[in-house]
Amino acid sequence: MVSAATEVPSELTAELKTSDRRLSAVWVWRIVFLVVFLAAWQLAAGRLLDLFWTSSPIAIVETLWNWIVSGLLFRHLAVTFEETIIGFLIGTFLGIAAAFVVGQSELLREALDPFFTAIYGLPKIALAPLFIMWFGIGMLPKIVLAAVSVFFLVFFNTLSGVRQTDQAMVDALRLMGASRTDILKKVVLPSSLPWIFLGLKLGLPYGFVGAVAAEMMASNQGIGFLTQSSAGQFDTSGVFAALLALMIVTTALNEALSKLERWAFRWK
């Protein structure tokens, strides 16, 4: 938190330039790795590897392109996306709220701890059959599973943030005559924000896992369904295309979250 001079000296700009150069070198290597990997796969496909099992990059892109043109990809992606985001938002909101409530009292925290830990330790996917049984094969069980997966990660991270709030800052506000709400809003929330973000970043992929896994078990739409139905038809290219699409979406969402995080912590 220390450092950062008020004016920018010339050494700093020089340093920035060096780090720019390093960054472009990193990108060059990334592209090299990708190209080498794809070229090796393409060349091996049909020669060293059986096309039936491994497909080939060109065949995957072809499948993906057909799906894009027919609108199939977008339709399924939109479903998964919607389930994940709604579940993510619900899980996040409940996780933060629960952590703030439990964080108010050490007694409450200790009393509830074994229950939370027990449920947290359960693989969330194991809950999918239960939610499908309860909520059918529509979007609801996927949303619930995504929410549950996100909830615990956000809850535990936020709770440790709340508990690490600097007591001296809280005391300073109490002496100013601050109410409980003032302290929560002005100290506890902003100081737990880094932990909340950690929870969000960890939680987002698990939200996807929850939604996609539930789709694979019982569904007629979504990326999980697309993967499952392609696999059912032994369409290897289809399976890979669906996974690729999912990868692109999760990466984009993670990137958006990082952007939001950088904005929220511009004071650091």
């Binding site: 938190m1 220390v2 109490r174 002005k186 004071w267």
Partner: protein, 268 residues
């Protein structure tokens, strides 16, 4: 309000005391081991009086301030403020702690505005007070900076501004000018004396610096080493208004200095 001139020779304060420590003891228990920090402390501080506390590290000087603020209860005895026993947070006092309690996610201006926000002061009035206070502590041009962009001395000044903007009846200060350079230290001492002369706040000021104590105080209280008790109380006879640059050359300064130096010497 104390109308008697604070620089007249004082007898021990009795009924007129604003802050009273009677029979105060404090011990801390850490991992089953009890350490006596304060063995015995009795003192009355009159309304409008300027008291400096000096003594070796760990002799419980900050503990005294924490008790007046109501952040720490005495193990035995009573601390009272304005006739009331202090048993919870005392919002009549404003406390400049040694610990940095600025909120790192708020700019300088927003940090100084914090106590006014808590008191629900209208925004226009808030901005005006904050701007004036920024100038008083010499931080013009830094209003939009975050604490992490400031030096230790500047952060101290922001804390000072945040305290003064509350216009409290009583000020507690724990080595506030410790990390500042000599020039700035004198400037802020002068500013503090000026404010005190105008407003006649009661000030309880902890310092390591005997010269500072003589410059500022009506009475200097010397703590012994732990477990501490009041070893010595020196009434400062130097007339007011005092010029912080000149005090050390005035008649009587040397005697005060020698007596305090002897008292503070642990080997004596």
């Amino acid at each position: 309000m104390a109308t008697s001139s604070p620089y007249l020779k004082q007898s021990s304060a009795k009924a007129a005391s604003l802050i009273t420590f009677s029979g105060v003891r404090k011990s801390f228990t850490v991992r089953g081991r009890t350490t006596d920090v304060i063995e015995q402390f009795d003192l009355g501080i009159r309304d409008g009086e300027f008291i400096c506390v000096v003594g070796p590290s760990g002799s419980g000087k900050s503990t005294i301030l924490n008790m007046v603020a109501g952040l720490l209860p005495p193990s035995k005895g009573v601390v009272s403020y304005d006739g009331q026993v202090v048993n919870s947070v005392n919002t009549a006092v404003s406390y400049l702690t040694q610990h940095d309690t600025l909120l790192p996610w708020r700019t300088v201006a927003d940090n100084i505005a914090l106590p006014l926000e808590i008191k629900r002061v209208p925004k226009a009035q808030r901005l005006q007070s904050v701007q004036a206070m920024i100038e008083t502590v010499g931080l013009s041009g830094f209003a939009k900076h975050y604490p992490s962009q400031l030096s230790g001395g500047m952060r101290k000044r922001v804390m000072l501004a945040r305290m003064l903007v509350q216009d409290p009846a009583t000020i507690l200060m724990d080595e506030p000018f410790g990390p500042l350079d000599a020039q700035l230290k004198l400037a802020l001492q002068a500013e503090l004396l000026r404010l005190w002369t105008v407003t006649h706040k009661t000030i309880l000021f902890v310092t390591h610096d005997i010269v500072e104590a003589i410059t500022l105080a009506d009475r200097v209280v010397v703590f012994s080493a732990r477990p501490s008790r009041v070893k010595f109380v020196e009434n400062i006879s130097i007339p007011r208004p005092r010029d912080v640059h000149e005090v050390r050359f005035l008649k009587g300064f040397e005697e005060h200095y020698r007596r305090l130096q002897d008292a503070i010497d642990i080997n004596a």
